[in-house]
């Protein structure tokens, strides 16, 4: 059994990160997907995770969204534990209702958009604000229309997902997540399923988000150019660990580790 007393009940002080992974491990049977991960993401920071497939990068996002249970360690969001809760002075695995009370700060967009097909773009955006945040309908619609405007789809608000292109669907998905006013936004390979010619419309929206909103973002992507353009920090994952991290310039132009160099040159030659 893990000694839980090593983990603080909450994070205090001036420099509390927006997200902290502390000693987080994830295993499927004998396979270790993530091995004692320590990663802090600061308020308003844009962190990109890159790495070969199977390196555990998507798992990082899914653990933070609590779509995956972790085997060891604690994840903190805005100073509060997310995966655990306090009981008699120590941290114990969190109940579903506790997790819900904390993960409201986190929004996520997926590779395959996952819009609700039986609802229009606008209905997709107002569903959770009305039923989860208990906003009144008028307010929720105003917010949703603002967000759809922001992603450039105000005129498509009454369309069902099936009548939208992949790029448009992903932009609606971004608007839908933003309608919940998250503090942390997770982007899981949001351009990977898109046709090349529409990738730009999605990356432009994300650039706009970074520039105009005070969001903390964690993004997994295969688009190195995009990662270099907008990230504050890039983490290279290899074999369940952060092999190397740094500013985009440092990591892309002057990688220190051999595996990073190999990965980057392999990606470059594929382009």
């Amino acid at each position: 059994m893990e000694d839980m007393s090593q983990y603080p009940l909450e994070l205090n002080g001036d420099d509390v990160p927006m997200v902290r992974f502390m000693n987080v491990s994830k295993r499927y049977g004998d396979l270790t997907v993530l091995d004692a991960l320590n990663l802090d993401i600061q308020q308003s920071e844009m962190v990109t995770v890159i790495g070969p497939s199977g390196s555990g990068k998507t798992t990082v996002l899914r653990m933070l969204m609590t779509l995956e249970k972790i085997n060891e360690g604690v994840i903190y969001v805005d100073g509060k534990p997310l995966t655990h809760m306090e009981k008699n002075g120590v941290l114990v695995p969190a109940s579903d209702s506790y997790i819900r009370s904390v993960k409201g700060d986190i929004g996520m967009c997926f590779q395959h958009f996952n819009l609700f097909p039986h609802m229009t773009a606008l209905q997709n955006c107002i569903e959770a604000p009305i039923h989860v945040l208990k906003m009144n309908k008028k307010e929720a619609i105003e917010r949703a229309e603002d967000m759809l405007e922001m992603v450039g789809l105000a005129d498509k608000k009454d369309q069902h997902p099936i009548r939208l292109s992949g790029g448009q669907q992903q932009r609606v998905a971004i608007a839908r997540a933003l309608c919940m006013r998250p503090k942390v936004m997770l982007l899981d390979e949001v351009t990977s399923a898109l046709d090349p010619e529409v990738i730009g419309e999605v990356t432009n929206v994300i650039k706009k988000l970074v520039a105009e909103h005070n969001l903390t973002m964690l993004m997994v992507t295969h688009q190195m150019g995009f990662a270099r353009d907008i990230s504050d920090r890039v983490c290279f994952f290899f074999d369940g660990k952060i092999e190397e991290q740094g500013t985009p310039t440092a990591l892309f132009d002057n990688p220190q580790r051999e595996r990073t160099q190999q990965f980057l040159s392999a990606v470059k030659s594929a382009d």
């Binding site: 969204m65 779509l67 579903d96 819900r100 993960k103 409201g104 986190i106 929004g107 996520m108 997926f110 395959h112 996952n114 819009l115 609700f116 097909p117 039986h118 569903e127 959770a128 039923h131 989860v132 069902h160 099936i162 009548r163 998905a173 839908r176 997540a177 919940m180």
Partner: protein, 269 residues
């Protein structure tokens, strides 16, 4: 066996659904009048010499029976859909208790025969103080039976909704109940409709058994007609066609229309 309370739907039907009932009865008598008009020249003697005479003599009974069969089927569908929804959703519950109750219901009603269930509900339940008239006992038995099959259809459809839908709803911080009610179930309905089309036809045919507890449905009427006329081919040939027509002209098109309507925004036209 002490005091029995007998459940009859007749009064309820009259009060709550007055206008619908009168339209319904209007249709029924219109069909009878039409039949009478078509057969107005046919002499009915003592015995039945040809099919027109057969119809002139027994047509009214067949129409009555067909309508009782329709009512039984419709009410059984309501019971089946309610049961299937409750226990189909229950089968995927996170609570072991709810899952076990659902599995028990499904296994019991799928694993034993409809006719035995019908007799239990009508003849055995009175020993436990539950006395039902033949009419409600009939459609409740058929509904419970088909509801068990339906519950498995509902479960299958819920599980066929892509996992990404669950994840997206979860990421929007929806509660389990809200996810099911607003996101998963509405999509499952579209998936389960074709299978329901099958089940409803099965259900219609299942109602043929309610005659055995003296509900005056089509099967019951036909057996009476046969014992009066010995016209086996005419009697059973006619009801065969009536059953087929109900399935072909009412159930199948309604299900098609429902499918088209519900998947309207899900498929590119």
């Amino acid at each position: 066996m002490g005091s029995k309370k007998s459940l009859s739907l007749k009064p309820l039907k009259r009060i709550a659904m007055g206008p619908i009932v009168s339209i319904y009865e209007g249709i029924q008598s219109a069909i009878k009048s039409l039949l009478a008009a078509l057969l107005s020249g046919v002499e009915v003697s003592g015995r039945v010499d040809n099919y027109l005479e057969f119809l002139a003599k027994f047509g009214d009974r067949l129409v009555d029976g067909a309508f009782i069969t329709l009512e039984q089927a419709l009410l059984a569908i309501i019971v089946a859909v309610i049961m299937a929804t409750i226990f189909g959703v229950g089968r995927v519950s996170t609570s072991l208790l709810i899952r076990s109750i659902s599995t028990t219901y499904i296994e019991f009603f799928r694993g034993t025969s409809l006719i035995v269930q019908l007799f239990w509900i009508f003849y055995v339940l009175p020993f436990f103080g539950v006395v039902l008239d033949p009419y409600p006992a009939g459609f409740i038995a058929v509904g419970l039976n088909l509801g068990a099959y339906g519950a498995e259809v509902v479960r299958g459809a819920i599980q066929a909704v892509p996992r990404g839908q669950y994840e997206a709803a979860y990421a929007l911080n929806m509660s389990a109940r809200l996810r099911m009610r607003r996101i998963i179930f509405p999509q499952a309905v579209v998936i389960m409709l074709p299978a329901w089309g099958n089940l409803l036809i099965e259900l219609l045919k299942g109602t043929a058994l309610v005659g055995l507890i003296s509900v005056t449905d089509l099967m019951f009427q036909s057996r009476q007609i046969y014992s009066l006329s010995y016209a086996a081919i005419e009697t059973f040939g006619t009801i065969l066609i009536i059953y087929y027509l109900i399935a072909r002209l009412l159930i199948t098109p309604s299900m098609r229309a429902l499918e088209t309507r519900l998947s309207r925004n899900l498929k590119r036209s």
